[in-house]
Amino acid sequence: MSDQPIADALVADVYAELRRLAGRYVRHERAKSVQATELVHEAYLRLAQDKPVAFADRGHFVAIAAIAMRRLLIERARRRGAAKRGGDQIMVTLDDTLMAGEDSTTALDLVALDRALTRLADLDPRQARVVELRFFGGLSVEETAAALAISPATVKREWTVARAWLLRELEGDASA
């Protein structure tokens, strides 16, 4: 990807904004639970005002935000895992409001998912990207198609096979 450096800077911006928003949610207990995609949308509304050029359209923004959200969630999950094991060698920032509770009912191991997704990116980068946009960014099939400049049918196909593969990988992890 040629626009990688720019994207990295933007990802950092969005990451900071997402963290700030998440922290605010926890402090004010505005909601019992907030979905990642809601947060992404809220971040978009704010950042689109601050930086109208960089985040011209929502699809472009979410394409970046999906990366930031993945990072945020995985780091939180890692920290929580570390805290559970007695906070061993990984430094844990104690004021991290994101650690306040347990994850929801879905016993989805986000760290394992992240690892599997990285392996998938190695086999087929586009499939991994589709999952990132759909799952972490909350993009619809059509939006994903627009963001990746491929057809919705292709997105559906990639999504279906990637989902099956990831499930198999995660089950393999769990039983191993």
Binding site: V34, Q35, L39, D122, V131, A164
Partner: protein, 529 residues
Amino acid sequence: MSEAGESDRARWAAVTALFSRAIEQPADTRHAFVRAEAGADDRLARDVLSLLAAHDRAGDFLQSPPSAIDAPRDLLAPGQIVGHYRITGMLGEGGMGVVYLADDTRLGRTIALKAVTPSPEDAETRIARLRREARAAAALNDPGIATVYALEEIDGRLFIASEYVPGETLRDEIARGPASPARVLETGRLLANALASSHTAGVMHRDLKPENIVRTPDGRVKILDFGLARFVGAHDDGANLTGDGVIGTPAYMAPEQIRGADLDGRVDLFALGVILYEMAAGVHPFAAPTPAATLARILEDDPAPLRTVLPAFSLADVNVDLLDDVIARCLQKDPAARIESAETVAGLIEGDITAGNGRPRGAAPTIAPSHGVGPSPERGAQRRVEGRVEGWWQFHQAAATIAYVLLLIPLWRVRHLTPGPIGMIIFLAALVGVVVAGALRLHVWFAARELPDVWPAQHARARPWTRAADVLFTLCLLAAGLRAVGADDGESGLLVAAAAGVAISFLIIEPATTRAAMRNSMTDRARRV
């Protein structure tokens, strides 16, 4: 970090390709298909087959976005006792709060226990309303509706205890891709029957969506949260619509719901149309990047014709015409033009049409394949009749208004036949009647022409006033006519006859034309408004 080599990538590309083709095949032939296509490459076949198996059990894996934060919540833990319920697990959570699986220790049955979290500001009125709605919902007794057992207030917290329905939601089904027209119609029939029984009981759902419908293991469907959805759902009366695309998805709202008009059971029929379309096509008929855009599309756009979005395997299906017909009639934006009732939907699917468009009463069990032969000519004829009826009604509105104005002329002429100011008072009263009745008729006529959505409501609002003005005008004609007796028998006769004509017109003819124009369901609605 490239651990995978070229050969791994090539192999994965082959697996992906074969998997994607296999998934297009009917489920029971996939195995054979993969074996045949893979040929001697046993590893490829096994890889694809194990992925297909993973696909089959994937359920809602990765389908809902991860939670971004985990605020401290006072969750109930398994084993905990709430009132006479013992929590045994958690079924789900969302903006609505948490749904637990619980045992009713008194009656010894498994239930779904929903913790309702009313917003603090308007808790009082909301809880009062929730009580009323829960009572209505609890009265529903239909196999297609998850029964509400009780609304419990335990330690200051509100819970709804309802039937526990195992199975997966229609959302899960839709996520797996388009269903065959026959399956969609059968689902539509089951849903329509459930809606029919609840509408008869006077309860509408108002938030029907795939997430609220569970397919039980025996293939039936059950609707959840009947009449309660707007309390337990993420959005309350549309307040949260501007939020985002995830919670409070307004994608199943009917146009009149978005406009905030008066609602009746037909809002559920619109939602049913959207759901059936989505099941058949795999895409939402009003899909748009943002909720606001979806709302706009629901109000303005016609969805893409069903045939253009159906998968190839559905197009060949003999039930496509019937499905298209059912969906098109459910998705009418104007409730008056929408299919009248849930019974009619069920009847249409069962081939048991009583609405007078002449389809034979089918003995076929659920889905009559004989419907699949081109657009039905009977419906075209019905539309033409509807057009004539509407013209008749419009003619009546215009003719009545003109006749009223013309009748002011003889009234003016006879005003001095009665001594003192009485004649003038009668004339002025008649003038008021003519102006009020004329203005309201023209307003309703205009509404019917330009804003068919609001016509019924406007008509219902205007009707008592139009009536009063009609009565006033008739009495004026009668009084002036009787007073003119002897002085000018010609004018007198004309006025009395006019009074009789006006009375007949607004008492008999107008209700008939209006009823015909609005069709039966509309007058039901007008009566209720």
